[in-house]
């Protein structure tokens, strides 16, 4: 019990100390999160009328973040998989960062689910036994299971690994490895189920195709590692932890190929829908060209196309891809933004346009929606920053269990007490 309490205390102490840049970043995110709390109060007291949702377009910005972030969460597997299935050495050291990103992304998903609900106060109705859990019929219940399971798996894996490192003990492979393998498969399941959640509704023709799950996974494995690469580059710049170039290169290749597949699948969808141009394709027509003079998403769509194609060609060129100063982060930012548009608003909103009776109306988010969305992201990044900082401390050996005298005998022989001052971590 004692190491556990020390772990908690040490981590808090460690994370609380940092450079001015670190504090600035935390305050910035904290401010946005605070604004979100105000927005949430507004929405939860007045109802969803403070959003621009309506009976025609009843899903919007929040659901777009939900879908996208489930992908980011699933993408942790792009770090885990090469490490443990292909025994990629350089990757193994940083797996835990991927897991922590997954934890933060699932937290964001939960925030956006709260904003999606008309009656968040009744969420307990979903809890089995005291409520009703319409499983297996309702896809949403599957999503609840896989998302919570994924959160649990990653939290346990990450915590266990860090705690073992902290106390200087060996990871028990019999306990840890099965969890890792389960979480790899589980990662695929969260995004597949989210795809099934929306593509099993013939009332929304744009979603009603069997390519949805694979497209979700391809886009997720492009955008997710893109975000991971950016955060690794940031970690390399601002902390003493040096993430190996090989690890980043592996991730960059994953982004490249998944981006290629994404573009291919997008093209297939467009051709399949637009060549016969049945009514099934009206939503896509609205998205790509606008319909009946309403063109709200057209610019949005084409900017995603340009971003994704540009990113793909940058990543395909080895000299650009290996340039960690400018081109790689730029390509990753493009990928991230392009997928965020394509799989966010570009996927969720047009499915409701036209409505099932053929009415075309446009939707643009309200100010409160935007504040809450920014706040949701800020909260997630805040969680990630804090978790990652603690994890880096452990990985660097700066956060270590120091009660050497009474516990050393229990520990494996490699254990060495290392005492660094916490200020060293941030320049």
């Amino acid at each position: 019990m004692k190491p556990l309490i020390r772990f908690a205390l040490d981590s808090v102490m460690y994370v609380a100390r940092g450079s001015a840049i670190f504090y600035g970043w935390i305050i910035f995110l904290g401010f946005l999160s605070f604004l979100m709390l105000l927005g949430a109060y507004e929405q939860f007291t007045k109802g969803m009328i403070v959003t621009n949702y309506n009976d025609l377009v009843s899903w919007g910005l929040y659901e777009a973040q939900f879908v996208f972030l489930v992908g980011v969460a699933a993408a942790a597997v792009t770090v885990v998989f090469p490490s443990y299935v292909y025994h990629h050495k350089k990757m193994k050291e940083i797996v835990v960062l991927g897991e922590l990103l997954a934890v933060s992304a699932v937290c964001m998903v939960m925030i956006f689910i709260m904003f999606h609900m008309g009656r968040p106060d009744r969420l307990w109705h979903l809890i089995p036994v005291i409520g009703i859990f319409n499983w297996p019929h309702s896809m949403l219940t599957w999503d609840v299971i896989v998302l919570n399971g994924y959160l649990g798996l990653n939290a346990i894996c990450a915590f266990y690994y860090l705690f073992m490192k902290y106390t200087g003990r060996e990871v028990n492979k019999l306990f840890y490895m099965p969890l890792v393998y389960i979480s790899i498969v589980w990662a695929l399941s969260i995004h597949t189920v989210t795809a099934f959640l929306i593509n099993t509704m013939p009332s929304r023709p744009m979603w009603f195709h069997s390519m949805m799950p694979i497209k979700f996974i391809a886009t997720a494995f492009a955008a997710g590692p893109a975000m991971i690469i950016i955060s690794f580059l940031v970690i390399n710049k601002f902390t003493k932890l040096k993430i190996a170039d090989e690890a980043i290169e592996t991730l960059a290749q994953i982004v490249t190929w998944c981006l290629g597949i994404t573009i291919f699948l997008g093209l297939s969808e467009v051709v399949t829908e637009l060549y016969p141009s049945t009514e099934h394709s009206f939503s896509l027509q609205y998205l790509i060209f606008g319909k009946h003079g309403l063109t709200g998403l057209v610019l949005w769509y084409w900017s995603a196309v340009v971003l994704l194609l540009a990113a793909f060609f940058m990543l395909l060129t080895p000299s650009l891809r290996k340039n960690h100063k400018l081109w790689l982060p730029l390509a990753c930012a493009f990928t991230f933004a392009g997928v965020w548009i394509d799989k966010g608003m570009g996927l969720v909103v047009p499915a409701f346009i036209p409505s099932p009776i053929g009415e075309i109306s446009e939707y643009a988010p309200s100010a409160i929606e935007i504040v809450n969305t920014l706040g949701g992201w800020a909260t997630g990044l805040l969680i990630f920053t804090v978790l990652a900082k603690g994890a880096i401390g452990v990985l660097l050996g700066e956060l270590k269990y120091r009660a050497a005298t009474d516990l050393a005998s229990e520990f494996s022989s490699e254990w060495q007490p290392v005492v660094h001052s916490s200020e060293e971590i941030c320049k």
């Binding site: 007045k46 109802g47 969803m48 009328i49 959003t51 949702y53 309506n54 009976d55 009843s58 899903w59 999606h116 609900m117 008309g118 009656r119 968040p120 106060d121 009744r122 969420l123 109705h125 979903l126 409520g131 009703i132 859990f133 319409n134 019929h137 309702s138 896809m139 949403l140 219940t141 609840v144 929306i198 099993t200 509704m201 013939p202 009332s203 929304r204 009514e279 009206f282 409701f352 036209p354 409505s355 099932p356 009776i357 053929g358 009415e359």
Partner: protein
Amino acid sequence: MSEPRDKDEKKKDAPLKPDEASRREFLGGAGLSVTAAALSGAGALLSGSDEAEAKATWGEWFQKNYRLMTEDEKREAVLRLEKRYTEEFGKQTTVDSAPAKEGVLFGYALNIQKCIGCRRCVYACVKENNQSRDNPEIQWIRVLKMEKGNFLAGDMDKGYPDPAGIQVGGNAYKNSGVVLEGEHYYEPAEVPEKGYFYFPMQCMQCEKPPCVKVCPVRTTYRDPDGIVVIDYNWCIGCRMCIAACPYWARRFNWGEPNLPAEEMNPVTHYLGNRPRMKGVAEKCTFCLQRTRQGRYTACVEVCPVGARKFGNLLDPDSEVRKILEKKKVFRLKAELNTYPKFFYFMD
């Protein structure tokens, strides 16, 4: 089937129901005094209602899904609501909990040849079913205006010539079909307008309702008489059902509903027209507060041309059954396999 008499009877009956009286005792002094205050009229409404409403809301918050309540729990829930509504709206309100009758399967038939697009059904429905009047404005029935034979002489030749100059297609008429492209905001001085026909839509009470399948908490379900109902107190507002309904039949209370007390219909049913709260889904219930008492729906009663027919699909002598046998009948979007119990027909 006359409407006013029935209403009045209910009003008079309600305070005398024995079980209600005992429930009030059980609630104790506070409950009694609040009830008394409410009965004394609209003045009390302004002063004492907040506290009473808060109490009722706590009780409501903890209640189970209606379908799984015991008879006692149902009675308790109904009394709680009656008390709250009576105070909130300053009129004696009844909340019926009549279950589906055996041997009844409700069905609807609509004669699109007769409909003149006057929207009397839309307004009668709003009046009967206590929808929010504005912000959000909620209407369960939508009447689509469809253009008859819309051939466009002017656009006929604006086709799609290919580079060789051979025409491959044209623009001689506008589309309508699976996606209906109907206009439902029309405001002409007079209906019917020349060159148009009208196509009312509402919940089709599907036999295989996609909305029920997707609901994660079984808020919405099919009652044995074939009506797809919603327990407004159980709905978590996830709007899966709204996304899944192919007929755009469901509406959402985006904000706290605005129902002026003087327009409120106090004869309600738990699963039907009782006033809703913010953040829940709602839709047509075939006026089950009426039809389970052997009356017609409000829209059937009000239709000036008799385009709307309603009855028991299991009764071979009912009007709907006769129509299904004798007329040319179709269902909307039949290819989606939802088996609507709302049929369209022509003479």
